[in-house]
């Protein structure tokens, strides 16, 4: 632990239960418990209020402000520029900006591809259902990687894609999932809360995303693509504390090679051959021999 903990604040536009934000929250909470940082946060901050909250934290003398600039890019960058002594690490689809605006994102398309391979092999009906929140790049790219992985091992597989237009409507996500099961899907890609519940209730399999929910749905989650924010957070804390912080793209720390993304598979549910195939590709990725495509286009149903 550092002798004087870094003052860190986070600003989330959704509650911390949301998977994406939950990972940042978890990493920062861990850093706080280690004594490296003091950590406060504001959740569910409306876009209109985002700029004010940023300024308030900056005025309060934070060393590092973590957040998501996705819908407030302009304002966030402007505020950052006005507080050059504070480091900003913001989730963003754009690049970093001088003097102090670093960016990150959940680049877990690699493990998503691997889960796609598992799912492609595991489906018997050759129909996979995918329920997403909104069709934004962060979601699209993971879905596309997953679909590519599945098609790689099983060209006959078809996808059903639905967006529920909400980050938070588990009952609705569950209904969408039921609809897909009724249409023949036997594996669900669980981008939202609620999808795995439908899978569990109907006794089919689901693929996890971002967080590990296997213990909540025993016998349901065949494989998951996990995001770990710790490498990113630990890195930025180190940079800021050490005075070496640069406005750079921290996105790479979400890659598997940095431990920011990981692939897990339930070997009791998946057959050995497909696990082996996925593990092989995983190794190629880690060795830099295989690159998963990044495709931000909105995925569409293929049946």
């Amino acid at each position: 632990a550092a002798e004087k903990p870094l003052k860190v604040a986070a600003i989330y536009t959704v509650p911390v239960e949301q998977q994406w934000v939950g990972r940042i929250h978890k990493a920062l909470t861990a850093a706080k418990e280690r004594g490296d940082v003091t950590y406060t946060y504001s959740e569910n901050v409306a876009n209109t209020d985002y700029e004010r909250v940023m300024r308030e934290y900056a005025e309060a003398g934070m060393d590092l402000i973590v957040g998501e600039a996705f819908a407030v890019e302009r304002a966030a960058r402007k505020v950052a520029a006005e507080y050059p002594d504070t480091a900003f690490l913001m989730g963003s689809s754009f690049g970093p900006a001088k003097p102090n605006f670093a960016v990150f994102d959940n680049w877990i398309h690699e493990p998503s591809y691997l889960t796609g391979m598992i799912a492609g092999n595991a489906t018997k009906s050759n129909i996979i259902g995918m329920v997403g929140g909104y069709a934004i790049p962060e979601v699209n790219r993971l879905m596309n990687a997953f679909m590519e992985g599945a098609l790689e091992v099983n060209p006959d597989v078809k996808f059903l894609v639905t967006f529920i237009n909400s980050w938070y409507d588990p009952p609705k996500a569950k209904e969408s999932a039921f609809a897909m099961i009724d249409k023949g899907a036997d594996i669900l890609y669980a981008e939202r809360f609620g999808v795995s519940d439908a899978a569990k209730e109907r006794g089919i399999l689901a693929v996890g995303n971002v967080i590990d929910t296997a213990s909540d749905y025993p016998g349901t989650i065949i494989s998951s693509a996990l995001w770990h924010m710790e490498p990113t957070i630990d890195r930025v804390i180190e940079d800021v504390a050490g005075g070496s912080f640069e406005p750079s793209d921290y996105g790479q720390y979400s890659y598997m090679s940095y431990g920011g993304g990981s692939f897990v598979v339930d070997e009791a549910l998946a057959d050995a051959a497909s696990v082996e195939a996925a593990r092989k590709v995983e190794k190629d990725i880690l060795d830099g021999l295989f690159r998963v495509n990044v495709n931000d286009a909105e995925p569409k149903s293929t049946m």
């Binding site: 239960e17 639905t162 938070y168 009952p171 209904e175 039921f178 009724d182 809360f193 909540d216 149903s301």
Partner: protein, 314 residues
């Protein structure tokens, strides 16, 4: 075309429609009796949230599922009482009091949840209501599969439609509620208390609304999320008018809405690639407006709706 027919003819589709309709049935019944007594309750969206949170929280703390349902109803009743006090004896604007109650109930629920559970990164789960397998009903063709996927709360909602209908049309209490929403002085002149009737009805109606919220966290799902009510309360307000303040029509309206929604979800996977998804999401709302326009002519408003009543005031 045949795809669409396939969708509509599947028992699973109707099961989904009924499931989606369940919270709306609770909500619309609650809104309906409040309005029958002359009080518009726009607190519904917040009361849904409070019911969802309180019911779930109670169950999570070990009160059991039915204990949770009871707690949800009590929470709804408490916020209903607040709305009732503001609008009945105090005679404040029903619109503004309702929106105030929504704001209050929502923020209090969120604040309580977060203060009680500051460090969750994944919402805690409870063991939710499971679909019932009812011996004879479940074996019926078509109806069986549609019904046997439902939990006890859905059956409770259906029973409440009958119960509310019975109370409204077959009991002295229902008579008084219908009268007080039309002409409070008629009720007063017959020696009944307008205030007690209206307040009691608003409290009871709000308890029903809260059950709709409880359904979301204890049956449709097994955890509480911020924002998970997602406008369902407002839809109940619309459905109430659509239903011309009748419980039977309320059931039909809620089912239709559920069917639109279930259909929309299924259609999105069918034709989703050609048409923007939002078109389907808009469908239930637009069709509700259209339906309203069709029934509007015949709509028979509670004449005293929105009008505060002060004893002995001209």
């Amino acid at each position: 075309m045949s795809d669409i027919l396939d969708i509509l003819l599947a028992a699973n589709f109707w099961a989904a429609a009924l499931r989606i309709a369940t919270p709306l049935i609770f909500g619309v019944l609650g809104a309906l009796i409040c309005e029958r007594a002359g009080v518009l309750n726009l607190g519904i969206e917040g009361i849904f949230t409070a019911g969802a949170m309180a019911g779930w929280m109670a169950a999570w703390l070990g009160a059991g599922l039915w204990g949770g349902v009871l707690v949800a109803a009590l929470a709804g009743a408490a916020f209903g009482l607040l709305h009732a006090i503001l609008t009945v004896p105090l005679g404040l604007s029903q619109h503004v009091s309702g929106i105030g109650v929504t704001l209050f109930a929502t923020s209090l629920s969120y604040y309580t949840y977060r203060t009680a559970l500051p460090d969750v990164s994944s919402p805690p789960r409870i063991e939710a209501f499971q679909p019932l397998d009812i011996p004879i009903l479940s074996d019926l063709p078509f109806l069986g599969p549609a019904l046997f996927q439902q939990t006890a709360l859905t059956f409770l909602a259906l029973a409440l439609v009958v119960a509310v209908g019975f109370v409204l049309y077959r009991t002295p209490l229902g008579l008084a509620i219908r009268a007080v929403g039309d002409n409070p002085s008629a009720v007063e002149a017959q020696g009944l208390s307008v205030m007690a009737l209206r307040m009691g009805t608003v409290v009871a109606g709000s308890a029903l609304m809260a059950l709709g919220g409880a359904f979301l966290t204890m049956s449709a799902f097994d955890a509480f999320f911020f924002g998970m009510v997602n406008g369902r309360g407002w839809i109940c307000i619309a459905l109430t008018v659509f239903a011309s303040w009748r419980p039977g029509k309320a059931l039909i309206g809620a089912l239709l809405f559920g069917a639109f929604d279930a259909f929309q979800v299924r259609l999105q996977t069918e034709v989703g690639s050609f048409v923007p998804g939002q078109i389907f999401l808009m469908l239930p709302y637009i069709l509700s407006i259209a339906a309203l326009v069709v029934v509007a002519r015949k709509a028979d408003y509670p004449r005293a709706l929105l009008k505060p009543y002060f004893k002995g005031q001209r």
